[in-house]
Symmetry: C2
Subunit: 534 residues, 2 copies
Amino acid sequence: MFFRISIPLILLLYHVSALWPIPRSLETGTTLLKLADGFDFKLNFDSPPEDLTNAIARAKDLLMTDNLQILVPDHGESNRGGLEDAKSLSGLTLALADNAPAIRPIATEVTDDLHARDESYTLIVPDNGSDAMLRANSSLGLFRGLTTFGQLWYDLDGTTYTTMAPFTVSNDSPAYPYRGLHLDTSRNFFPVSDIKGTLDGMSWVKMSTFHWHVTDSQSWPLGIAEFLELAEKARTRQEKRSVQTTYKKLLLTQLREEIDNPGHTASIAFSHPEHVACFEGTGDVVLEPPLGQLRLASEATLNFTLDVLTAVASKLPSKFFHTGGDELNQPCYNQDQQTQDELERSGRSLEDAIGDWVDATHDRLRSIGKTPIVWEEMVLEHNITLKNDTVALVWISSDHAASVAAKNVRIVHAPLDHFYLAYTFNPLANISSSQEYLILGGQQLLWTEQSGPENLDPIMWPRAASSAEVFWTGPTLPDGSERVAAIAGRNKMAKTEVLGRIHDLRARLAARGIRAINIQPKYCQLRPERCLNE
Amino acid sequence: MFFRISIPLILLLYHVSALWPIPRSLETGTTLLKLADGFDFKLNFDSPPEDLTNAIARAKDLLMTDNLQILVPDHGESNRGGLEDAKSLSGLTLALADNAPAIRPIATEVTDDLHARDESYTLIVPDNGSDAMLRANSSLGLFRGLTTFGQLWYDLDGTTYTTMAPFTVSNDSPAYPYRGLHLDTSRNFFPVSDIKGTLDGMSWVKMSTFHWHVTDSQSWPLGIAEFLELAEKARTRQEKRSVQTTYKKLLLTQLREEIDNPGHTASIAFSHPEHVACFEGTGDVVLEPPLGQLRLASEATLNFTLDVLTAVASKLPSKFFHTGGDELNQPCYNQDQQTQDELERSGRSLEDAIGDWVDATHDRLRSIGKTPIVWEEMVLEHNITLKNDTVALVWISSDHAASVAAKNVRIVHAPLDHFYLAYTFNPLANISSSQEYLILGGQQLLWTEQSGPENLDPIMWPRAASSAEVFWTGPTLPDGSERVAAIAGRNKMAKTEVLGRIHDLRARLAARGIRAINIQPKYCQLRPERCLNE
């Protein structure tokens, strides 16, 4: 029996729907189906890229190791009888769609232009035991479909089963291409294993972009062959081992590295004090210790910075590169005699010099094929005309998106005021329909002044999953209802459905080794309908 | 060279003083001293209790495994030359003071009446290589002194050393006997290893009392031989394995178990629905799902509860037992026809029945040698006269302590409004000198609606250390200055000293496997003087 999810049926489904983000189209049944002992993935095309082959092997491994009991009070006991007679699924066939372009590695596809990437897929799991089918135009689409397939399965004493057959996702694809997560590795140290674990978590909720805020005033943990002194002098001992591995491939996710400048650069003073103003500044230059930012009126400092940016950006496959630009401290430059002299000599105001600096650094990046990303201050607080390929991260307030859009600058949402479980965030609030094309997506941020490996996962998960769904699923749930209105209103079934799904996601992340936190007591995780916050 | 810590010298010492809580008297030098290869603990008395022997073995193990580098920018490199010529310490002698009573196990001493316990110790570490001396009147005092000794040591490439010799703590003892930590294991599940780890952390900051909020409405994870059905019906699958181990000895720390009643008892309805009112209640009985509390006007329910309390409390060595009493929901009883009938039949008001319930449960506990502890509502919100052995936990607001003291009830501080890094908390605020004897101490609390093993440590540590020092060290720092005034004021050296010490403690807890979080960037941990919040 097939039916389309609709409000009256959510009540039946909420305990068994474990998909996150929820596909944009979805048809599910209620037939039990189990994985055959010899279950395997099959390909209907030759020569798959190595990273796709690895992703398939990983998906198979997770099917065997998740061992997740269904989150209902009896943990699935009532399915035991039905499972004895249930059909078995022997295989999932991965197929390329007719007219699909030649298959490329996932790691290549994630470096395509944002709007050129194709993450769409169709997944059909019949209830009669015949093979399931996953079809896409790309490796990336097959990878997204594998992720959805992996969320269907529960364990009952060694039997791996779903309660949702037959199951069809037709041409699911993300509402926004940029679905990001930001991690600051300068304020406190993170071992490579934490970064890899975070990338895993991202892939399991179909996030697309890792924004690595790799350096800041507190440390410079990034080893650059041409400028090894930066890391040698401004990293802590813990970081010694990680520098070597910085450029190891971070597969399957788009990596955007950020070298924040000209502010947030005091760590450069440990190796190049000549380039840093107000390192020993006082009074109103204090933002967060240590003080100091690049002497932006100095030609030598600009040239040094251009060379550093080139050395870093040229080694990265991503088309985008983040140049920071937040929280520039003007009193610092007022206190710095060298900067004052250089401004006077060149006949420029500080704002002129900021504009020249941004133009020069961005043009250098463009010359090596990169598109610059900045924090919103570069658009809203300085008198600069950014070229219209630039992307701005709106972080100070969600209210600022409209002002950035008014300047015709493309936007990634990353607002502080919605950082915490922002499920009701509307990416198009205050954006006119003619400006919608400017919205590329959004991302979660973690600054690490008060965190480290000890609380990375507990802060990030399942919180970040919230924006993963906002920017994948977009404004409309698969039943056609408005996502934000359904949750913000008094629709108990819609709230129960989301709450149950995020509890289920948390359990699956935990089963895969991510220390995602409980967001309600276990009692409520088993019975979300009893624990709605009205 | 010997000197007493005073303000001008703190500047020299803040990077090297890693003691937490800081002893109430302290003299330190600046001579380097290293542990000899064959370093060992020695006893000058016979037949040590087994748990003291185990504690000594553990202390020795930590000396070998902490491997903590000193938290300064060069990580101790500048000590390398001096360490070549430094004297070596071959042993620490544990001695009983003249006139000390016969030695008893730590686990026995922690069950003594609060004010009868002797945790005092004297510790002398000479700088000339002769043996160090730890002297106390009790096993518990020796255990506290071992903890202080263990905080003196850093590692430099395999050399274990202190920078503080000669070092003398004279007759250190806690300002308050009750230095507690509270953990709720009903809202979400914790494995025994988490509880043991928490007890370890407590012992490393000299906390004395573990308040185990073991049951609540959401689950009843406590196995009681006489009432196995309670846990069988109201625990989650995860908890199955832990029930067996509930009564395994929790050594070295005073254990206070709480069976919260008559509220917070809905989980009893899974096995004994006849004793629970408003399990399916509606409207203003909703506090937190599931609903339901004990039918306090029912004689059968009271007798059942007395038997449960007896079964639990009689198996525990502690002199105290916590009977809860918080957040009693009166509309629940108004909705429950059985309770209304029973009140009418006995001619009692609800408040009368609450008073009778509390008298009966407390008197039963007294009859088996226990002293009752309650939440503050039992003192402030109900018309009950508690017997004057009762202890109240003041949790809703620190302002309520004075009202509880006015009723002549002993107090443990556990205020919500000071839960977060409460270093400036003053236990005697608004308490007259004639009431000071009522203040037994204070405790940190963790409710677990939104936590579990994933974030237990990150929420608890190093936060809980703050109250550990408030209640051990009391109002006066070893240099004679006022603790709260020194930190709340503009005394940069005092602030730097505390900040450096808590960073150091965090590093030591992390070295011992507790996932304590960074509270500032590593840059600041190495240079606390640059990162004071003014």
